[in-house]
Amino acid sequence: MARILRGSGKRSGVRKDLGVPGGLDRRSVLKAGGLLGAAAILTSNKAAFAQTSGGPTPPVLCGIDPPTSPATTPFRDTLPVPPPAWPVLLSPLPTEAANISGGEAARANHQRWAQFLPLLHYRMNAAPSLHRHHSDLLPSYMWTFNGQYPAPTPLNFYGVPSIVRFKNNLPEGAQNTTFGVPEITVHLHNGHTASESDGFAQDFFLPPLFKDNHYANAYAGIDDFGGIGDPREAMHTFWFHDHRAAFTANNNYLGLNGMYIVYDAKDPGHELATSGSLRLPGYYGITDIPLILTDKRFCAAANGRNEVFQVIGNGAPGGDKWVVNGKIQPRLTVRRRKYRFRVLNTGPAKAWTLSLIRPDGTQAPITVVAVDANFTVSPFVLSNTPLNVQVAMRFDIIIDFAAFPAGTSVYLKEATAQNVGVVVPDPAIGLPIGNVLMRFDVVNREPWFPADTPAIPGTLIAMPDPIVPDASFQWEFTLVGGQFLINGLPFDHNRVDHVVLKGSSEEWTLANDVAAGNWNHPVHIHFEEGRIMSRRVRVSQNPDVFQNLPLLPEELGRRDVYPLPPQNRVVLRMRFRDFVGRYLIHCHNMNHEDDFMMARWDIVETVEELARRRQEIDQRRMLAGLPPQYKHGGLV
């Protein structure tokens, strides 16, 4: 508001910036500014609305043909670490019902509000800012949370519920020259989150509204186990990202994502010998470091910028620069001790095939301790196979740099090469510079640096009880007439494709039946972690002939992203506990997701409602000439 008040004599200018009829003028701000209560809150929102035209100058696009990104000198920048998000005291205070007059977006009341009153508040302000991906590049125009890419990381604790207030201050109308859409709905992947805080794809909201996402920071199984749920359902490495229907790739490519960590006694965020702690490397940003991966493509320098080449149409053009925590080919100085890296692929579409390479070109081992935020029962070591990280997957890995002499460097290799643009000798034997994602420079540990943690325990967790399904269901992923479909239909937020009962369990089969397609679909299911039971692949022209595939080590534990290569079928089991509402299953290749390879499924409270809703689905199918989906009046 101050900016407008200072802009004396620029009344017409303010009107023009708004670009909307009935806009804000100086006199009305001055007048309303004298009022108290709701009117004042509304005015400040309205002022913020006017200010969405502020910030960096909107970018000028660099055409339709993917450019070759400018040259970047390898290892010029150090690896940045997203700072921890500062807790704040939100004003107006979060409320159980949407605070409409205070500027909150419409939503259902928070579920289990009184049980999980949020003690920790964070604010994430979505707005344009400039970000420099490399010191050789000029800044790029991005959409970020709190002006940072990647966003600051909220550090949380099980048992301490939080609210994250996502405020939409993105530019719109003539001020938006990007292919992003200034309407956001933020999903915490893969929080056990009530529907109204889950970032449902249709629940996007416009500037200048905000939305409070309520994260109970409780384990799944609240109803069964009481308190904060079943600790065996612990998850630690989450990420939040925009989930706007049809524009998720665009908005994420512009930078609207970040990591979210939840600690507990097993994984306490420090390395001290406290009760129950696994004592893994655990100081955030020091020995426990996010590696947030994405690919980008940059326009040639113009107007003082190297803009990111815009995602257009159905398919992202794909990047030609590999970006870690917002930097291209960074370096990180590491001490000769164990480190934990939380590897996250934020997409939009690229899958990463990573390995650790010694200067002699041989592969060094990495130890995987967590898959998709879930500790594995036992750690497993990748010494001659790569780490495959598809979109939205997280792998927590431990690298013991004590295995390397001080003064040497080891490299994180990506199987596909990026465009570096400067001639550099291979840093390791058989390792072209283009394949290097980042470099680790090994030094001796200084006395002030935390001492190494004990050996990684052989057993990390006990798995939750086996899931005994009450029913089964199949989701078929296909492509017809250029349209990605699930069970024959594109996403329609008003249409429910499956309904489950709160507290029940089901066995779901994911089937990649895209004829003639060579696409892999990293399928994500919101709400709870699943357990993969089996995987099989179609092996002949006969559509019913399948061969079982052995499960990989990363498929033995709990997951929330299920890779679905061509002609594969994955059988998994999951539970639906504690909350009701609308949830999603979708391909997390964001281009496919935006092409509506996504479906809505609901959790309902009562058996009567379940039967009623399932009968509605079958009636709709009958009208479309399709066989029924359920038996026994919708109960099975």
């Binding site: 708004l18 670009g19 909307v20 009829p21 009935g22 806009g23 804000l24 509304l42 309205k46 609305f49 100058t57 909107p58 000028v60 696009l61 055409g63 339709i64 409409i100 977006a105 419409a106 939503r107 259902a108 009341n109 719109e172 109308g173 003539a174 938006n176 020259t177 292919f179 859409v181 529907s195 109204e196 416009l206 200048p208 509204l209 049809a246 107007n303 257009i312 149409g313 159905n314 398919g315 794909g318 017809v480 007439g481 250029g482 349209q483 239909l489 594109p490 329609d492 008003n494 249409r495 003639a516 397609g517 509402g581 509506f596 609901d602 309902v604 409270e605 009562t606 409602e609 809703r613």
Partner: protein, 217 residues
Amino acid sequence: MKRRELFVGTSGNTCVQGVRTCGTADLIPNVALRTHDDVPVRFYDDLVKGRQVVINMMYATCEGLCPAVTSRLVEVHRALAPRMGRDLFMYSITLKPNEDGPAALRAFADMHGALLPGWTFLTGDAFDIDTLRFALFRHNHIKFDLDPNFHAGQLRIINDSINRWVHVTPLASKATVLQHISWADPPKSYEQRMQDNRALQDEIGREVAKYGYRKVI
């Protein structure tokens, strides 16, 4: 529009930073086409510039998706009739320009009850049409992009004045198609969106009271 802008071209090399239509003009080929009334037009300059438009690909002898798509578009047109030809336009571009001249397109439109205000069927040079098809509908997948039929099942919605591109399959429900078109509507005023937000909240409240959670909206 300022008077000065009237005299500044927005295509080619005349782009100036801050003139937003530059980018969009680059993305949408300004190819020469003919309408079903045999009127010569430039695709970007005459049909898309500054407008909200709904675009699909079809051909007159198509018996697969095209009739179903066209009938869905007729429904959509009916629902949006007050806007059609004013601030919203529909364009159906033939995938077989060598077969579909203006007369054939006119006959197709007539047969499907699609000779309606604000709805134009378009033909042109085959290379230009392919250029347009790729610019508007490509999947970046050679297998699918080279098969024109894969682009017959898509609608591209563009609002050039706000630089918004949306796509949807016309075979989705009518409500879904209408909603996607609305996603390209110009931004609403502050007052309007606050009013909409409050109305949505009231609707959610009613739903939750009735079903226990948000069922429909």
